[in-house]
Subunit: 148 residues, 2 copies
DNA sequence: CCGTATCCATTCCGATACTG
DNA sequence: CAGTATCGGAATGGATACGG
């Protein structure tokens, strides 16, 4: 299990998120789930992770309400791990990582996978943080307001 | 230094990103940088991380082209760590974590910090992945196209 | 096929002490 | 202040063996 701190006193949502799922395997499991993976051994095969680790992370993710277990959709008597709405809302996190990686971690020569809209077959547009009036805000145009 | 795999053969941008910076400390350092932190000891104070670890991560982040060192802006002879454009483009990643955490990791009672637009003082809108024509796409309306 | 339990090597991290 | 060096303990991860 990834490291934990006193999750109660932490008032930064970024830190709390990272404490919970800011671990390599958790995020890759979630990524695979967005690719449609649901079965234990399918996660295991794609990630190449030890089964004990995978079981541990899946347990954590279920506890956290990011996945839920459901009976297998095919005939078999095993279970599947499917994203809850809470888990699905991690989509922007995965997409943000993907877009940053695409832009900065691959040369023109390096082939990489691309996330596309099923309808049009085109890549998604780059996500940009916006203010309430819809304008794109740059990092230095924002500030963090502390609680209380 | 965080774990590394054979970064060359990895064709998933998410995995490559996580290999590089998908470590708790790196992302928290970047978060603090967006809050305006530039000095070694200021990072150290805010994160409570061991200095050796911090030095290690800063070195890694500079190597990765996410930070660059520059002479101190005040009179002192020390250096500052400032985000490069590549580092600044991690903003959506941090914002995505922040927004997810705000929505799912805090109860109504739990105070947390909020990222606001400096101009209006209002929180940012929630980022949503969009297709090329500007429509919001849900996870299951997308698919990953493999290279080659 | 789906996990759990155990063992061992490695890695990570924090505390401390030291340098310029 | 801004790091570097070292050291011991804790956590991690992979392999293997085992059970439902």
């Amino acid at each position: 299990m990834p490291k934990r701190r006193d999750n109660e006193t932490e008032t930064c949502p970024v830190a709390r998120s990272l404490d919970l799922i800011g671990d390599r395997w958790c995020l890759l499991i979630v990524r695979d789930a967005f690719d449609g993976v649901r079965r234990f051994s399918e996660f295991q095969r794609r990630l190449g992770v030890a089964r004990s680790i995978l079981a541990d992370r899946l347990r954590l993710l279920v506890e956290a309400g990011i996945f839920e277990v459901s009976p297998a959709s095919d005939g078999t008597s095993y279970q599947e791990y499917v994203l809850t709405p809470k888990g699905e809302r991690l989509f922007p996190v995965i997409v943000a990582f993907r877009q940053w990686g695409e832009q900065h971690l691959f040369g023109p020569r390096d082939a990489h996978s691309v996330l596309v809209d099923k309808g049009s077959g085109k890549p998604l547009t780059v996500m940009e943080p916006r203010s309430a009036d819809g304008k794109v805000v740059r990092p230095w145009e924002t500030t963090v307001k502390l609680p209380r």
